[in-house]
Point group: C3
Chain length 354, copies 3
């Protein structure tokens, strides 16, 4: 049967949780309109199931773990890692239907889920995060629950013009508006870039320079390069280098370079989980610096929330209005084109298979 035309592909890897979030208890999270429950087996590997006891519909996430199964907290039905019923007191578990399970992989400090067809779940499709498990980089991040379409956040990140207006006291500066944005395809990915030459670093970057033994009052070249990795990741290569030293290709001692990490996981058509973070390619062992950047970046990303949630509400308030797309929106526009194609391909697949 053809599935309802959705706003997000299902045959794709999404970040469901950070590794830190999943401890020794079941954990409930809605992903792509599916209520899921996650838990770890004794060997540490992660299991993802529908959060629905096949007996009477109780939420399995209210239950407890026993061996590698999850025991429903209502009548003791125990579900295994493939959604099969493996035990229930005084009952024949074989007579009770299975529930759905989902391919899940833990990698790079994240737990990745594939909500679609299991036979298409290829672990090699998980994007490569070069900075993860790399001693030259440090990383910290968090997760927000945002009441907006996940594509609005992709638009937001593929056009950093908004930094001047939304983040004026940290990373925004006049020269952002004045520098042209370039949108191109690179290795099959959508990339938007902006370069600002011979400028004064804004407060966030001045702080980073100080922490890499650079004089923050010196003029710099600044870069921003946003890469959209379908369906729902944006990685932004950002930094400043002392003026004339080669920009992002400058020697390490003349620059500060980070990658902004963004995973936009649909919760429903109008809500999302936002996994954000920053990987830093300088002074990686300074834990205080890691915490300072985490706190600063959390504050910066909170500035986006109000804008995005109002934007979502406004589309319902003004149903006859349509959005327009300018050159600065080319990245988001191209990202949507890829998403729409992925969704269309899935739907055709369902039709072929029906």
């Amino acid at each position: 049967m053809a599935q309802k035309n959705g706003l997000f592909p299902k045959n794709a890897w999404y970040v469901a949780l950070t590794s830190d979030e999943l401890k020794d208890k079941p954990f409930a999270r809605q992903i792509c309109n599916i209520n899921m429950v996650f838990h770890r087996k004794n060997d540490g590997t992660v299991v993802a199931l529908e959060d629905f006891c096949p007996h009477r519909g109780a939420a399995l996430s209210l239950g407890y773990l026993e061996d590698d199964g999850i025991v429903c907290g209502y009548h003791g039905l125990k579900v295994g890692c493939k959604g099969q019923v493996i035990d229930m007191p005084e009952q024949n578990p074989k007579k009770i239907p299975c529930i759905g399970y989902f391919p899940v992989v833990e990698k790079y400090g994240f737990i990745w889920i594939w909500p679609g067809k299991k036979d298409k779940a290829d672990e090699s499709l998980i994007p490569l995060l070069e900075w993860a498990n790399n001693p030259e980089w440090a990383f910290a991040g968090g997760v927000f629950d945002i009441k907006c379409d996940y594509r609005f956040m992709i638009d937001n990140l593929m056009d950093l013009t908004h930094e001047k207006y939304v983040h004026g006291t940290s990373i925004g500066q006049e020269e952002i508006d004045e520098s042209p944005v370039i949108t191109e395809e690179e290795d099959g990915y959508i990339v938007t870039s902006r370069y600002m030459h011979n400028i004064i670093a804004p407060p966030f970057w001045a702080f980073c320079m100080k922490n890499n033994n650079l004089d923050p009052t010196q003029r710099v070249d600044r870069w921003q390069k946003s890469k959209f990795v379908p369906p729902a990741a944006v990685f932004i290569d950002v930094g400043v280098a002392l003026e004339g030293k080669g920009g992002k290709d400058a020697p390490k001692e003349d620059k500060v370079r980070c990658t902004v990490i963004d995973f936009m996981t649909p919760q429903s058509e109008t809500t999302m989980w936002y996994f954000w973070g920053m990987a830093r390619n300088f002074n990686p062992t300074n834990e205080q610096l890691t915490q300072d950047i985490l706190k600063g970046q959390g504050g910066i990303f909170e500035e986006d929330l109000e804008i995005l949630e109002y934007q979502q509400q406004n589309l319902a308030r003004f149903p006859d209005k349509s959005l327009i797309s300018l050159d600065i929106d080319a990245g988001g526009r191209k990202a949507r084109r890829i998403l729409n194609q992925m969704i269309k391909t899935e739907e055709e697949g369902y039709i072929d298979n029906k």
Copy 2:
């Protein structure tokens, strides 16, 4: 006109309030999708009306009592016990339409309402509560507002297997799972029973034994017998007796026996009022014991709330799933069969009368 096929019979007595809840002011409560207002006449008898002033639709429950009428707090219209307008300043009350009233009876410490056809309201259909007004018994209870279908609570009470999982620290114990449940019809009622022989009493029952001069470390026989009284009551005969003394038929000095009282009154299709309590057939004059049991039972019943409210939500989240029914669910299943038959009979009655 045929009424909409509902989830609850209307030609039936439901507990609307405890006697204690209704004092000297109007009291609003929604029962079976109807917003009602209750008040007492000077002679103490209870009146139940639609909570709607026939003049401009104000809530009568915001008004005040005068003689045996309720005066609307907006323009002073006064409604009598049959919903008739008996006074309004400078107006001819006969020109103003009546509102609906409902048969209501106060008995056993509860106020009972009949939301359906008045001519079918037979007071003798109110279930007999043998323990009420009986000096050998003590009673205490409370009321909860629960966001679930009232039938989920009936299921819950007709299968006490869940005690081990939901109430593990008070009344649950391993042997519950291991003892078979028996479902049968007794005097036209659905009854499920479970007997556990030669066991150690769980904490709640050990506490009761101490309060009836029994040694709580002695081995006991335990019984649970749930009786469904349509449409929405479950009474559970529960207790422990010293091992080999005859179980629930043992002499009074060798056992502790209680009746768990449960009235499930539909508020709407997805919400209910839960009137719960415990009647105790030992040491009835010990008021401190009454309060201790009340507090303990309130805590136990709160453990069910989260499970049941998530269960209700889960049915909306997984609309394609259906619940399955095992032997332990036979009590709840048979109860629903009776409810469905009652609803069908009502609907045919409406069709015949139209």
Copy 3:
């Protein structure tokens, strides 16, 4: 295209804000189902726009003011006073569509909005407020957000019978019920009046008498005259005069006279902004008296809120019930007839123009 048959006319002036509410930042308010943003130009004049950035739908009210435009806080698009895009960094503003703007006038301490057809917005249609900018009068008021149909408040104010029941401790008194209400048309307006002769002043009026050097224990003649000014204003000429001195036409030194000011601005079909206040024609320079009356009147009007919000809810709870209209409701009923005619005329106008 014919617009949806609504509950409120759109070709009319409504109070949108008090002058005090609009300071040096954009201000969002929903009027007649339209989300609007208001701001002041440098010369102090007021601008009203749709609260929707024509680029990506962000709320303009989250932006900031620059010269006489409002700059979107997301990407810096700047909208002018007629909804035209006047600037956007690195973009050609002429390629971006306009948004809607609304005729707006500031007068008498209020900001008036015309949500309908601009070519019909005639400033002379704003009702004359004789007391405003008049040194013989003092005024103070406030605004409430009420969850009810604006017409319920018009009904409320056109029938002051409710004072006895809702406001019994301040302005209500027995004689209200006993005095007939007269409903008539005066200069094309609906007017309801009630006169109470030779009575004792209720607490609020006794307080006013003391503040005009009158003995509050003396008998008085009291009057109430509510005038409905379509679509959504009610002005109530109220006061007491020493008995036999001519009532509201008595010499100034023998009476205390006020005008209750009420503007009911629809937010949506089921919510409204209530701008209330009192203009006083005695002892106008006593600022402490102004504050005392403001506080007292605020408390009195809060007593209406609960009644009106429950009334709104009750209509949804009892969809089969209809309201009845007595002689005391004649003012509200005639007001609705005028409103319905205004709405019908508008709709015919839309059909003619389509």
